[in-house]
């Protein structure tokens, strides 16, 4: 079965974002497509669709189904290559086809995070996990995909515990939060001021909330937008204190803030050196103030960084943290690849063990059926003694002829892939998968 496993993939490696976003499937579309594929061309199917990739994995139910057909199905689902001015062939050129072991290895590389645009990206794990869930809900996952999911999750777990691939920040907003935590790691007792209710500020705020930030003040030119952002980041359990203020109240909020993350689109400095100097004088304690400016153009006057007890970092400073992390992650890739290779072997090994028994059984049953049919056909021509002799002779003949293939199938030496190939070969040679009652006649 694994040698029939195929994957088609369109990803950031080959396709630009404007193509990827057109191909990306919603969960609803995934459900519909999986059901359709399950009914028409695939025994089992899985779709992973994110902003960086759309991939379809499956086991074709008949030899006629090709990877090209699967690409076609996705394009039809998305109504691409017809009225959008881009030809189907053009879309198809962005797709990559993978088979058998390569397809399994690819899925493991995806879930491990080494195929991601940001190496070590942790979000992909939950996205692949969701893909397996959707496949199961659409009744497109069978025994093979269930085993594959277990193996894939094991790969992700091993990568997390045995390597440093997932460690360290990989985005600016995450780096900002990680940097702040190098000064204050217990955010519960800290007051955090987020200046700007845009996407970057919100992302940083979400990371802070995930790390149990105690008090967050969102300052924004539009008070309503600040409140809306608070509603989006507020944890479901109701913990933490959140306040929305206008930018005109910013100077009043500065003295209480231990961590300030600024990400507005303002053309001028939002926090000036005199304002910060005044805020430091008004502070109740002498604990340091962490200021992170992730806006371009900058929001915080660089002169603020010269003030005592202030750590001011801008986007370039954070980028050096990201570069360092990226370098470290790259060094981990060989370790991850070794884990993947090991797990691919284990997976194929477990499959071959599962498939060898039923194959031998089916092979013997087929031979026995042919033998019984032929005996029955000639029964009237033989007396009892002759029948008994031929019955015994054909049985022994059958056993001797099947001895070789049985031993070869049970052979445990060599690669799991070779054993699977042997099983597949026997099944093909003796047409074990094509058995139907009509063919017996």
């Amino acid at each position: 079965m694994p040698e029939r496993f195929v994957a088609i993939s369109i990803s950031h490696h080959r396709a630009p974002v404007e193509v990827r976003e057109r191909v990306q499937l919603s969960e609803q579309e995934m459900h519909a497509l999986l059901r359709e594929l399950r009914e028409q061309s695939l025994e089992e199917a899985l779709i992973v669709s994110t902003c960086n990739r759309t991939e379809l994995y499956g086991i074709p139910s008949n030899a006629g189904s090709t990877s090209d057909d699967l690409v076609e199905r996705i394009l039809i689902t998305k109504r691409l290559g017809t009225s959008d001015g881009v030809s189907k062939e053009s879309y198809k050129s962005y797709f990559e086809n993978l088979h058998s072991r390569d397809a399994i290895r690819h899925l493991f590389a995806v879930i491990a995070g080494i195929d991601s645009q940001i190496i070590g990206d942790q979000q992909i794990f939950s996205q692949v996990k969701d893909a397996f869930r959707v496949s199961s809900e659409a009744e497109a996952a069978g025994g093979f995909l269930n085993k594959l999911s277990q193996a894939a999750f094991r790969v992700a777990k091993r990568v997390k515990t045995e390597t440093t691939l997932n460690e360290g920040a990989s985005t600016i907003s995450y780096a900002a939060v990680e940097f702040a935590r190098k000064i204050y790691d217990d955010l519960r007792s800290r007051t955090i001021l987020i200046v700007g209710a845009g996407e970057t500020g919100e992302l940083a705020a979400k990371h802070l909330v995930e790390r149990n930030a105690g008090q967050i003040i969102v300052a924004n030119r539009s008070h309503a937008n600040a409140e809306a952002m608070i509603e989006r980041i507020r944890p479901a359990d109701g913990t933490g204190a959140f306040t929305a203020i206008g930018l005109e109240q910013l100077d009043d909020a500065l003295p209480a803030a231990d961590i300030i993350i600024s990400a507005t689109s303002a053309p001028d400095y939002v926090i000036t050196a005199p304002a910060m100097k005044a805020a430091l004088s008004a502070r109740a304690s002498s604990s340091p103030v962490v200021m992170i400016d992730i806006a371009v153009p900058r929001d915080i006057d660089p002169a603020v960084g010269k003030l005592s007890n202030v750590f001011l970092k801008d986007i370039d400073d954070l980028r050096s943290i990201l570069d360092r992390n990226a370098e470290r992650r790259k060094k981990e890739i060989p370790k991850v690849e070794a884990i993947i290779e090991e797990e691919v072997n284990k997976f194929l090994e477990s499959l071959s063990q599962l498939e060898v028994g039923p194959t031998i059984k089916e092979l013997r049953e087929k031979f026995e059926r042919v033998r019984a049919e032929e005996l029955q056909r000639n029964r009237s021509k033989l007396d009892d003694h002759s029948f008994a002799v031929i019955d015994d002779m054909t049985r022994r003949m059958m056993n001797r002829l099947l001895h070789g293939p049985t031993v070869s199938l049970k052979e445990t030496n060599g690669e799991a892939n070779d054993r699977l190939l042997r099983i597949e070969l026997v099944r093909k040679l003796f047409a074990l998968d094509k058995e139907s009652p009509e063919q017996h006649d």
Binding site: T161, E162, T163, T164, E167, R181, K182, I183, Y184, D185, D186, A284, S285, S286, S287, P288, N309, F311, K313, D317, S320, I321, R324
Partner: protein
């Protein structure tokens, strides 16, 4: 039998400390799964402390005095107390992992190594019979505990200043990556300072009780003006003030660390001068 056990442990302890250093180093230099890796830190430290305590007990039984007669004996006692204070100030109290254990255990290892190599079961002359006095031993032991705690606070303070400088200079290398946050270093440092202050308070009180016992003619003024007592009182005062300003003036961060680091510098300088000019341990002895 006890003597043999004492000698075996004396040889064994540097290796045991070395193993502990390696255990913490493994965590410090690798970031993978730190919590899992530090799972055995507290039990491992307890085993080392237990072995060291047995060594102290057998050594005391064999030589009729605690590890306080020579500076090299004191090294072993300092290693023991430093590890003990570390366990109680950080390891047991913290639910999070930290890379500081590597530095602390490395200091303990060096102290114990020097002690194990040099100590040869000192015999105490009759004139120094005070060394067998239990109150005196308690006085010295609490004093060593106090100074060990302050040494630990100094380690935390040094790490704080190192990290502070690295962050200011945008040096996001090994120090930035492996040393715990400034907040935690400050917290652990303060906890160690509090330990040190408590032990020094007990030590000074026991010393005051002891003076009449060893020298009935010595006056309270003589006690206070003794250079060692004077410097200890000064150090005690600096650390007491550190704790006080933290509470009252809300002094925090680098300024607070500099405050307690100056206390430690004062300890080192004053103790060096006093030991250099003084002939007896205390002037009234």
């Amino acid at each position: 039998m006890i003597g043999t056990l004492s000698r075996v442990l004396q040889t064994l302890l540097p290796f045991v400390y070395a193993a502990l250093v390696l255990y913490f180093a493994r965590t410090f230099f690798r970031t993978v799964n730190q919590e899992q890796r530090l799972k055995y830190a507290v039990p491992a430290a307890y085993v080392v402390l237990l072995l060291h305590a047995v060594y102290i007990g057998t050594y005391t039984a064999t030589n009729q005095h605690d590890l306080v007669a020579t500076i090299y004996e004191l090294f072993s006692l300092i290693a023991f107390t430093l590890l003990a204070v570390y366990v109680f100030a950080e390891l047991r109290a913290s639910h999070e992992t930290s890379g500081t254990g590597f530095f602390v255990t490395a200091v303990c290892f060096l102290l114990q190594l020097v002690s194990s190599i040099t100590v040869s079961g000192e015999t105490i002359p009759e004139t120094k019979a005070i060394l067998r006095d239990p109150v005196f031993n308690a006085h010295v032991t609490t004093s060593v505990f106090g100074y060990a705690a302050l040494m630990l606070a100094a380690i935390y303070g040094s790490l704080y200043l190192l990290l502070f400088r690295a962050i200011r200079r945008n040096e996001f290398g090994a120090i930035f990556e492996h040393i715990p946050s400034l907040e935690r270093l400050e917290r652990y440092g303060l906890r160690s300072t509090a330990f040190g202050f408590v032990f020094l308070t007990i030590s000074i009180a026991l010393g005051g009780m002891l003076i009449k016992h060893v020298n009935p003619d010595a006056s309270a003024l003589q006690f206070i003006l003794d250079p060692k007592v004077l410097t200890t009182m000064l150090v005690w005062l600096v650390f007491g003030v550190t704790l006080l300003v933290r509470r009252i003036v809300h002094l925090e961060g680098r300024r607070l660390v500099l405050f307690w680091m100056s206390g430690f510098a004062l300890t080192v300088v004053s103790m060096t001068i006093v030991n250099w000019i003084g002939t007896a341990f205390h002037s009234f002895l």
